[in-house]
Amino acid sequence: MKAFRKIPAYLLLTLLGAVMLYPLLWLVGASFKSNEEIYSSAWFMPESFDLSVYRNAWRTVTPYTMGHYFLNTFLIIIPKTVFAVVSSVLVAYGFARFDFPMKRFWFALLMGSMFMPAIVTVMPVYMFWGWLGLLDTYIPLTLPSLFACEGAFVFMIVQFLRGVPKEFDEAARIDGCSTLGILVHILVPCIRPVIVSVSVFTFLWTMNDFLQPLIMISSVEKYPLSLILRLSADSTGDGYEQRKILAMSVIGLIPSVAVFAIAQKKFVSGITTGGLTG
């Protein structure tokens, strides 16, 4: 009976799912299509499946395969994600649970840092790393995350922490928990979903980030995947084959989808009373 009532919901979900997914099916199909075929038919199915496109895409024109660039990307993403989570949680903890001089001012700065378009800072930041001799390493791409540089993450975690009753902290303190102990043992488990969210967002945004690595990294062997995806896209000179770009994009999507599919279970398994209701 109960399942019966949910039929409209399933229908809606499937419809919505189709809308979300069809363009992607087309994307995969189109990676097998020639330039002529690509826009001429609305149907996603290609006339034939020729896997050589994927073989070529995987090999790349560089001396390395895409596997090498996947590895590079992970060398950036893993430290960056860890840094972002740790620093954002600490800072958010400070904002959500403590009083200190000029708190409103600091919080305004945090919000304000989200309003500033990052593009104009690219050049000075580049020079700063050049001055330290750290260009063409992954440090400029990862280290800033140690400083809670994504205001949005801190803001998100602050919002979640506000939903966790302060009585939890007080009880723990009476039991002799230290300041950090409360965070690690009491609060972090409560806000696990948002921590997973922050990690996943960092992962996915880093996968797509193009401008930062383009400017900071100059050795081809150190390129992350996002640069390789555009390596062949020369819009001014020789032109490029769309299916190759699409095939590379499809390959590049796989880890992101996998990470999301694995992590999504954790998104919503926080302890009740935690989180955003209140």
């Binding site: 363009p23 403590f98 919002q159 506000r162």
Partner: protein
């Protein structure tokens, strides 16, 4: 909301909090404040053959006079006003559907999130191309429904909608935050209203919506900021055209900075955008009562 219990509920010293946020302060100085100041200096020294000249106020005046800037502000505000409410509504709707205790929720969640992974990559650009050019899928569907052809790319009135649709399609992140919040509403609340004979629509308005207040506020702020800074989607899909109808302020900054190499103008426009976002966020805080009670 809960009332404030005490000023320093669990913290030990006056400076513990400050110590905890110190990474942020250091990072702010190093990666936000310093580069901005340096960028201003660069802007000043770059003009007129390396000669130092304070061009700040001049540049600002030029910017405010410039019709391109005013138009970009208009486009950005319109874009934000349309996109943010739609995105919040769609992501909340999807989250509610997913929260009905259905089977295969993981699959649906993943499917709904996949578009967000694409962002505004070349793949997304090629896809939109396929959907919205003449005789594209969108046009064919309109034709099937007996509706007239729409000039998506070529007409300024619709080109912005094309960008909005891309970003709307990528509602995954907002949906995740709503799902997090929905899962934390105890089922007993609903049981209680069911006993009262309330319909599910009423339950939504009397229970769900009020309890989601914080999540809505969070999404509202984050999505507004993201929308007002938008640059990559119009940059990749329409290049700002036709007739600058999709040229956002973010795109203007990028163009000034990198295409035209005018750092001082890029700085001036950045400050303009900063003010714009700051006022939008302040208005939102005021309207919703924001986080007043705790900050």
């Amino acid at each position: 909301m809960k009332t404030k219990t005490c000023n320093n509920p669990v913290g030990t010293g006056k400076y513990t909090g400050l110590l905890l946020i110190s990474p942020f302060i250091a990072g702010f100085l190093l990666f936000t404040a310093y580069p901005f100041f340096a960028s201003l200096v660069l802007g000043m020294t770059e003009t007129a053959g390396g000669e130092l000249r304070f061009a700040g106020t001049d540049t600002f005046k030029t910017m405010l006079r410039d019709s391109g800037f005013r138009k970009a502000v208009g486009v950005t505000v319109k874009y934000t006003l349309i996109l943010v409410p739609l995105k919040l509504a769609v992501s909340l709707f999807a989250a509610l559907l997913l929260n009905m205790g259905i089977r295969g929720i993981g699959v649906y969640r993943t499917v709904f999130y996949i578009p967000s992974i694409l962002g505004s990559s070349l793949a997304a650009v090629i896809m939109w191309q396929y959907l919205f050019t003449s005789d594209g899928l969108a046009d064919q569907l309109l034709g099937l429904a007996g509706l007239p052809h729409i000039s998506w790319y070529g007409d300024g009135r619709y080109a912005l909608w094309m960008i909005i649709l891309l970003r709307l399609w990528e509602f995954g992140s907002a949906m995740i935050l709503f799902l997090n919040a929905l899962r934390d509403i105890p089922a007993e609340y609903y049981e209680a209203v069911k006993v009262d004979g309330c319909g599910s629509i009423r339950a939504f308005f009397t229970i769900t919506l009020p309890l989601l207040r914080n999540a809505i506020f969070l999404n509202l702020i984050l999505q507004t900021i993201a929308a007002m800074q938008e640059f990559s989607a119009p940059y990749m899909i329409t290049g700002g055209g036709p007739m600058k109808s999709t040229e956002t302020v973010g795109m203007l900054i990028y163009n000034e900075m990198f295409r035209f190499g005018d750092i001082s103008m890029a700085n001036a426009v950045s400050w303009g955008l900063f003010m714009l976002i700051a006022s939008a966020v302040i208005i939102l805080f005021r309207l919703t009562g924001g986080m007043k009670e705790e900050m």
